[in-house]
Symmetry: C2
Subunit: 120 residues, 2 copies
DNA sequence: CCGACGCATTGACAGCCGTCTATGCATGGG
DNA sequence: CCCATGCATAGACGGCTGTCAATGCGTCGG
């Protein structure tokens, strides 16, 4: 099991834009891991649905029906997003609330963009 | 075969950030296709190597050795990036020169970011 | 205490993906 | 005219991935 990883893009080696200099193998592998978590229609929709939901958080039962996927599949995708450092999981009572990790998506965008985008 | 697709992110429906409103299935599928092309260590390194190369372009023979992959594999990855609208291919004589599509990566970054990043 | 509910985990299966070797196809030099 | 060179394509194969049905596990209400 990989276990929860901290998003390397938020670390000190954060702001080296892709187009500046050739990526070394390790950096490319880290960035690819994060992008792989994003590169799925269901997960992209989950991210946007969580972000747009009331209070910036949503539980699985809010997401299953509009997505048109079964509950285990939704749980699986949410786990992938949490492990990638893009979502947080907060279990309150019977429900598990998911929310965006602030700045995580912006960090990915900053690496892809040739601009030095301020995250704040 | 899918054939070369124009990058939908550069179209009129360009600047709807992921976190603003829930993505519909079609938009999510389009964005996922582009991200899937990016979500590979070899392709990320290829993009950065092409961008950082002299004149902003590089041929396959420039990329094969530093990547540590065989020539057919490199050609395959480059084709994926071209089909995704991230690279251009210009065959001159025996060589095939690849270059970044201006603004393509920035367009992807703009969709991911919560900022309204100016592309220019 | 027990049943219903919300969610995670497991196991299974089809399909896609990254890589290689082998081969084909132009182009240019001698 | 022929061979070397640079690149693309074809075919094969192991591994990963997205999905589902079935099941397990806490938590709350009655």
């Amino acid at each position: 099991m990989a276990g929860p990883r901290s998003l390397p893009l938020l670390g000190p080696a954060c702001c080296a834009p892709l187009v500046r200099a050739p990526l070394d193998a390790a950096t490319a592998a880290d960035l690819a891991r994060t992008l792989k978590a994003l590169a799925d229609p269901a997960r992209l929709r989950l991210l946007s649905m969580v972000a747009a939901h009331d209070g910036g958080e949503a539980c699985v039962c809010d997401l299953t029906e509009p997505l048109g996927l079964t509950q285990p599949t939704v749980s699986h995708h949410l786990k992938v997003l949490v492990d990638a450092g893009l979502l947080t999981r907060d279990k309150r009572g019977v429900w598990a609330y998911y929310a965006l990790v602030p700045g995580a998506l912006d960090a990915v965008a900053a690496v892809l963009s040739s601009q030095t985008a301020p995250v704040g």
